[in-house]
């Protein structure tokens, strides 16, 4: 109550100043008058009485000031005055202000950008109701669970040979969701699936679909904004296919039309009806992946029909593909929940799969606040490295800005001294300077926010380059990012504003007022020089990081991949999605191949199962008759493993992989059960050393080690990684499979943009129901493989350059100031016979001291960052001498250049002018 009163009185003062002042005036006047009257009664004259009262009780104005300044609103008032004064002062030096705001903008912006990425990818909770009460359900088992034929989703080996995985069978999920009582809802969701969708008469395009349980939207509290969620009876095989589309899909593909409901679309060539539109901003349960379409679990049978054997996909208890997430009921403990569902699942699965309960995996619960893991470990560590780099950058910026302001506060020392002399308290002067820093930080923060959101989007582009369009992070500017930017701005204001403010408040009145500006700040500019050295040290660190990451990327980029990567592209289609049977598939593939080969500028075309260096691949154990093999539980030993690829005839000519011996895969080999295979040299060295491999046989199954006959040997290539030690490769004849996408390798003379267009037209002309799902050049695939490295190299080089520029500005600024201060001394020296080179040497010595100290401080930092980066460096030691030398050299050259200008100015000092200066 009294607080309210206090605030309302204060506000009254702030906004009705006139009125309140007048009241106080009248009251005080009355007080003094009454006191004076008393005196007059004792015989004093009115004038004397008034003066006596003023002496005794204090004058009207002073009292008013005292009363007023005792209240909180006066604090606000003076802050406001400080603010206006600060703005006026800043307007007076626009150059400085620009430099400060620019560097702050870069520093805060880079940090904002990286934070918004880290936040979106790693920190932010799911955009659903009360994400803290969500639990992800996974399971663990000592071995691959019995009776299970397929496991989708995460599947990890854990210590002791056990496995931890995320999915269960659809039926098992439904029974568990129905019988459990610890979760308010237990929802099921499959990993996202690429499907082809055709709207109206347009050709089909690829989007991402997730099969979800009927309670998915209700359970998560993300009810469709238009239409309705799924109903329980709709998750049944044979029901009419229904879908809910994402808000993004609705806007981009359906034009945000109000009549989207009940529209019919074709998904994988099967008609389906839209019943709802998910809320905006809901991307699914995995950050970084934007699901376009949701369909009930049972629709998998309709959209993705199985092989010719007719077994429905997904409704089989041995096929585990449904992830689970539950919302804990209030008051139910985590342990109780886990105990119940683990026990329930044991008994349900044992019954359904006809197994002993102890063979059923044990369910466990994990936090579901952030949904399913978004980033792989390497991307996550790359982001954390970027956090570190931008942190270093921010420190450099702070040191730089502190220096700029410090030199100005020296110039303004007189002003502070005058203020102090006129009775301002030191606290007041300190605050005034801090307010100025605050204003700068705020402006810099604003610039940083703008720069940061642009930067975040650019980085996002690099991260997602070459991935399918459904993969993107939610980067919109929210309170969390704003909070981060604001916090950083305040932090920087304190970091760079403290030193100048202390300096100003400490001003020694006598010195400042009587002497000229120069002699005020402690003789040798210790603080500014220290700050520059610190800047140099951090800059060295940033440069070493940039050098290491850049060189590592170059090493990766120019690694010998074993074939011609230029003018090579892959076009991908997935006819199986559109309902092609195995019988129709062969002719389709042949037709597309011929049409592609007929394009002008296309030299050769060949289908292939695994695109080289796409990051995917197949691995098999090789068993050679008569060669002993060490059988290990479930895991292929690297010495027995080989990469496997299936290739069409003409593949080696298309990729320009040289043939060493024998022949390549030919047309006659393209048939079921053909036994001709081609291997690479590494394969022959490893499995048939010192003998002629041609005609030798081997197999992938230990029981059938005579399955394949080697008909040719080709040069080694890299298969799916630029980094890993390459494995031998086996090339089988290619037979298309309806379950897999089909890739055509295309050797061309065209540029890729025109080729992509032509290829799209060809694919659409052969069958409009089958979309071109991907098109990549070989270099594009390699870039995609290197996107993390490229991102790190790009960012660190950019940050290194900025750091270098800032260091140059810092050193030039301090030296220029030192020279200006020593004009007098230099004049005397020159008058006494010092030569120009003596003077230059004097200035450069200053500079070299700062740089030298900086390098000494920086070496341990640089060493530490090298160590940190070790894991992601390729064919490079963390203490790479070349990188260190180059970084030092760059630093020395730039700092010398930066010292040159002030040194020139020192030389130009005219002794006569300098001596008259005082």
């Amino acid at each position: 109550m009294s607080l309210l009163r206090n605030i309302s009185d204060g506000l009254r003062w702030l906004f009705r100043k006139e009125r309140v002042t007048q009241e106080l005036d009248e009251e005080l006047n009355g007080f003094l008058e009454m006191a004076a009257e008393e005196k007059m009664k004792q015989g004093m004259g009115r004038k004397d009485a008034l003066r006596a009262v003023r002496l005794e009780r204090g004058s009207l104005e002073v009292t008013k000031e005292i009363v007023h300044s005792a209240s909180w609103e006066s604090f606000l008032g003076t802050c406001w005055r400080d603010l206006r004064f600060a703005l006026r002062m800043l307007r007076k030096s626009p150059g400085l202000m620009f430099a400060v705001i620019l560097s702050l903008g870069i520093g805060v912006g880079a940090n904002t950008a990286i934070f918004s990425l880290v936040d979106a990818a790693i920190l932010k909770p799911l955009p659903v109701e009360d994400p803290d009460s969500l639990r992800v359900i996974e399971w663990s088992n000592p071995e691959f669970p019995e009776g299970v034929s397929n496991i989708n989703g995460d599947f990890n080996q854990i210590s002791g040979g056990g496995v931890q995985a995320s999915s269960v069978g659809a039926h098992l999920y439904r029974k568990l969701a129905h019988e459990q009582t610890v979760f308010a809802a237990l929802v099921g969701i499959a990993d996202s699936n690429p499907v082809g969708i055709a709207i109206d008469a347009l050709p089909a395009e690829q989007v991402s679909l997730q099969y979800v349980s009927d309670n998915f939207f209700q359970g998560l509290g993300v009810l469709p904004v238009i239409g309705r969620p799924f109903r329980a009876e709709e998750d049944r095989v044979g029901q009419e296919p229904l879908v809910v589309v994402s808000h993004r899909f609705w806007v981009s593909r359906l034009g945000g039309a109000g009549d989207a409901l009940d529209r019919s679309v074709r998904i994988n060539n099967v008609p389906a009806r839209i019943v709802g539109v998910a809320p905006p901003g809901f991307f699914g349960l995995r950050a970084g992946q934007w699901t376009d379409i949701y369909a009930p679990l049972a629709m998998r049978v309709a959209f993705q029909p199985g092989q010719s054997d007719g077994a429905p996909r997904g409704e089989d208890d041995s096929d585990w593909w449904v992830r689970e997430m539950g919302r804990l009921k209030p008051g139910v403990s985590e342990t109780a929940a886990k105990t119940q569902i683990a026990g329930l699942f044991r008994s349900l699965a044992a019954e359904a799969m006809n197994l002993e309960p102890k063979k059923i995996p044990e369910l466990i619960t994990l936090s579901g606040r952030r949904g399913f893991g978004a980033l792989n470990a390497r991307d996550a560590s790359a982001l954390w490295i970027l956090v570190l780099l931008v942190g270093v950058l921010l420190l450099i910026v702070c040191a730089n800005v502190a220096n700029l302001l410090l030199s100005r506060s020296v110039v303004r020392q007189r002003e502070s001294a005058v203020r102090l002399a006129l009775g301002a308290t030191r606290a007041r002067v300190f605050r005034q300077h801090l307010v100025e820093s605050g204003v700068l930080a705020l402006l810099g923060g604003g610039a940083g926010l703008a720069f940061g959101s642009v930067l975040a989007r650019s980085i996002h582009l690099v991260i997602e380059s070459g991935r399918d369009p459904s993969s993107m992070f939610d980067l919109h500017l929210d309170l969390r990012v704003l909070g981060c930017t604001g916090g950083l701005s305040i932090l920087t204001a304190l970091l760079f504003g403290l030193a100048p403010a202390v300096q100003a408040a400490r001003a020694d009145l006598n010195d400042a007022l009587k002497a000229q500006v120069g002699s005020v700040m402690g003789g040798r500019l210790r603080l500014p020089k220290l700050l520059v050295s610190l800047q140099i040290a951090l800059c060295l660190t940033a440069l070493v990081a940039a050098g290491l990451l850049g060189r590592s990327l170059e090493n990766l980029r120019w690694v010998d991949i074993g074939f011609d990567r230029e003018k090579l592209a892959y076009a991908s289609v997935n006819p199986g999605q559109a309902g092609y049977s195995t019988e129709r598939l062969g002719p389709y593939v042949e037709r597309v191949r011929q049409e592609l080969a007929r394009l002008p500028g296309v030299l050769r075309v060949s289908p292939v199962e695994v695109r080289l260096l796409s990051g995917n691949g197949n691995l098999s154990r090789v068993s050679v008759p008569g060669r002993p093999s060490s059988i290990e539980k479930g895991v292929v030993a690297p010495t027995e493993a080989a990469n496997v690829n299936s290739v069409g005839d003409g593949f080696f000519e298309t990729l320009r992989i040289p043939l060493i011996a024998g022949r390549t895969i030919e047309r006659r080999d393209i048939r079921p059960n053909a036994d001709a295979v081609v291997v690479d040299e590494l394969f022959t060295r490893r499995f048939f050393p010192n003998e002629n491999p041609l005609g030798r046989r081997f197999g992938f199954d230990p029981k059938d080690s005579n399955r394949y006959e080697i008909v040719g040997v080709v040069r080694d290539t890299l298969y799916n990684s630029l980094r890993r030690e390459p494995l031998p490769t086996v090339y089988e004849p290619y037979l298309p499979d309806v379950r897999d996408p089909i890739h055509f390798a295309i050797r061309t003379t065209m540029d890729s943009a025109r080729l992509a267009q032509a290829v799209r037209a060809v694919v659409a002309s052969v069958d409009p129901a089958v979309p071109l799902i991907e098109f990549h050049t070989q270099n594009g695939l390699i870039d995609r493989l290197l996107r993390t490295e490229r991102l790190l190299a790009l960012m660190s080089v950019a940050f290194g350059l900025v750091a270098l520029i800032l260091a140059a500005i810092g050193i030039a600024g301090v030296l220029a100031y030192a020279v200006a201060r020593r004009t007098n001394e230099i004049g005397v020296r020159m008058a006494l016979g010092a030569t120009a080179s003596d003077v230059i040497r004097m200035v450069l010595r200053d500079s070299l001291w700062m740089v030298g100290a900086g390098i000494l401080i920086g070496f341990p930092f640089a060493f530490a960052i090298g160590k940190l980066l070790r894991a992601i460096l390729f064919r490079l030691e963390p203490l790479d001498p070349w990188t260190a030398t180059a970084a030092l050299f760059a630093l020395l050259v730039v700092t010398l250049l930066a010292s040159w200008l002030p040194a020139r100015r020192a030389v130009c000092v005219d002794p006569i002018v300098a001596l008259r200066y005082e």
Partner: protein, 110 residues
């Protein structure tokens, strides 16, 4: 500024003002004069500390004010003790008594 009352003085001044107002509503000068009379001239209050205290007490809701005519038919702001103020006065008086007694005991002990 330099004559800012210390905590103890500040607390006592508030209490003394409340005590003065416990008898009847008064204007600022009246309070000053009454305090001086009652203290036999030990306290001589300047307008600054007095009015800061009024502002503080009023904002704390311990006193309220209204403009009225004085006996000399001059307009003046009269301060009135609120219920809350009366309670505070009672509790502070008790506390003060306790403290004084305690201090006296300590001083007598030697």
């Amino acid at each position: 500024m330099a004559d800012k009352p210390s905590d103890l003085v500040q607390g006592t001044l508030d209490m003394l003002i409340l005590k003065t107002l416990a008898l009847e509503p008064m204007h600022g000068y009246g309070i000053a004069v009454r305090l001086e009379q009652m203290s036999k001239g030990v306290f001589r209050l300047n307008a600054g500390s007095l009015f800061v205290a009024f502002q503080r007490l009023e904002r704390a809701g311990l006193i309220s004010s209204e403009w009225k005519a004085t006996e000399n038919s001059r307009r003046a702001k009269y301060y009135v003790l609120t219920d809350q103020g009366r309670k505070r006065l009672n509790s502070e008086t008790r506390e003060w008594g306790r403290q004084v007694a305690a201090i006296a005991r300590i001083l007598e002990a030697s």
